[in-house]
Amino acid sequence: MKLQNLTVIFIAIMLPIILMVSFYISTGLKTITYQSIYDTGLLTATHDSIYAFELNTTNDAYSDNAETKRTILKSSVKAFEKGLAKTCGISEYNADEIEKYIPAIVFGMYDGFYMYAPSALYNATTNEYEYKHGLKNYVYYSEELDDEGTVIRYSLDNYVVVSGDFGSGYETKEGYLIIEGNWEIDTNDEGAKNYKNDATTFTSWFNTHMPDKSYLKIDSSNDPEDENSKFVQHKRQVIKNKMESVLNSSITAYSEKIMGQNYKMPKFSEEDWEKVYSDISMITLFQGKSIGLTKYNGYCVLNSSNHNEYANPNLIYFIDADGMYHDIRCKECGSASSLDGHKIGYFKKKKIEETRKDESGNEVVDTNGDPIIDTKYVYNTDALACYECINKGSFDTPTSVYEYIKEYANNKVKKAYYTALARERYNTVKLLSQ
């Protein structure tokens, strides 16, 4: 055979192969591009949702109410779906269209979590089950301690609620667990004083009435404020198991009934779980959208710090005599003549709505006779953030707040810290007690 013939045959074979490989590579590139776009979109949508939650809770005086909280969370879901729909080019006006790619959204709260996921609804007309997304009931971080029905509910900090028969019939008791000796507070601060007294009484009761388990014996070797203590380690395991099992069962049911595909729960990293343990969090799952060669399967875990849910011991800031506010580990705190501590939300701006009034104090109305409402943004304090610690996060002793207070802080700083934390905790509304 001549060289020309061989060349033609070679090219005739190679050309389709090259075309196929080229098509495959180009589709692969598109898949990676979409993967990246959806990763960013999921992160942005989750951030928007958390931001909506923060905005709605801090600007709503009734956000501690359980029913209001559900409304706020539903609004956060809408914000998430809106953001995601824009990224994916899906119509945001038909919720079902985007929701079929959302197996679950979890809101990790102070003492439990909400899950937004599909539920089965029986349709008597079609004699079939239909699946509709909705906010499910609150699930507590709870654990049954013995066969007699003693139940403990944990929270993100050292607050617990226990239910059971402790000698005088079935009852529920609640309170903070503390090591009394650690808590040196300013006794002139009523809130802090009440917190310490209540917590000391409750801890003493707790130690004598709980089943004989090492992690429930609160003493200096098992400090519920220390993240390495048996109590905290066990509590974290309970939170993790509870979330994983509820999420897993929902995803499994959803995969089989709705999508007809075997989706699995993503394996969250320890870093992700750390976010869940440390503050209010949101876990969003987005699965099943076709992105070329495969289907997208992603999740996102984000924290919120600006909320009214609880006083995060790592996010208490202190105003000094010079009108600056600091992290407690800042070197400026050590030499400050006075320290007034508040949780982080205190330093954020708040929205207030005021009815406009004229010089005589009468309401100003518009042409329809409706009062004119002005929206204003206000701060609780004029204090400015310290450049070194708040803005740069630069500390001479780079340890956790817990370790810093225990090992390095002087007595004045310790006292300011515990007083502020105690007061903030005492003033935080607990859904558990409602």
Partner: protein, 169 residues
């Protein structure tokens, strides 16, 4: 005669294999790079709007200039959703995410930029969508190879959106 024909065919096919396909591959790579840059610029532009709470003429011009530097021309479209926090005037406690939004689009934004900044408030949504409106080399080559035509075809597109986190007025 037969040999000459085969030789011509062989040269023609070899030319396609050696020149046209590499050219298509390189031009596609060029588009992919432009795509990545446009996406990055758009995300940066939108993030700036979200954190400032406003669209300024300077930011907009800078963004358009960066897009032009990729060697293509683009259509930039805005989609702004403004949270009507008090739509019925008497209805209070509208939640961000679940309130009424009304939209403003490219024309309104660009007109507003002629006389100053386009201001937003926290809770509003901003979306920027961009696609090329010129014909890139890869588009030209593909239209020859695969007979793809049409004014609506574009190969470089990017979008970024999100809620505004600061009030710009």
């Amino acid at each position: 005669m037969g040999d000459s024909l085969i030789t011509i065919i062989a040269i023609f096919l070899a030319a396609i294999l050696m020149f046209v396909f590499p050219l298509v591959a390189i031009s596609e790579m060029n588009d992919n790079e432009a795509q990545a840059m446009v996406q990055s610029y758009t995300t940066e532009f939108v993030d700036g709007i979200r954190s400032k709470g406003k669209i300024t003429r300077q930011d907009y011009d800078g963004y358009v200039q960066k897009l032009s530097a990729t060697g293509n021309s683009y259509d930039v479209e805005f989609e702004i959703e403004i949270a009507d926090v008090n739509p019925g005037k008497k209805t209070q406690n509208q939640q961000i995410g679940d309130t009424t939004y009304y939209g403003e689009y490219t024309t309104q934004v660009v007109n507003a930029l002629d006389s100053g900044d386009y201001k937003l408030k926290e809770g509003d949504y901003v979306g920027v969508y961009v696609k090329n409106n010129n014909t890139t080399i890869s588009q030209m080559l593909k239209s020859v190879l695969y007979s793809i035509t049409g004014d609506q075809s574009y190969v470089i597109s990017a979008q970024a959106s999100g809620s505004v986190v600061a009030t710009g007025y």
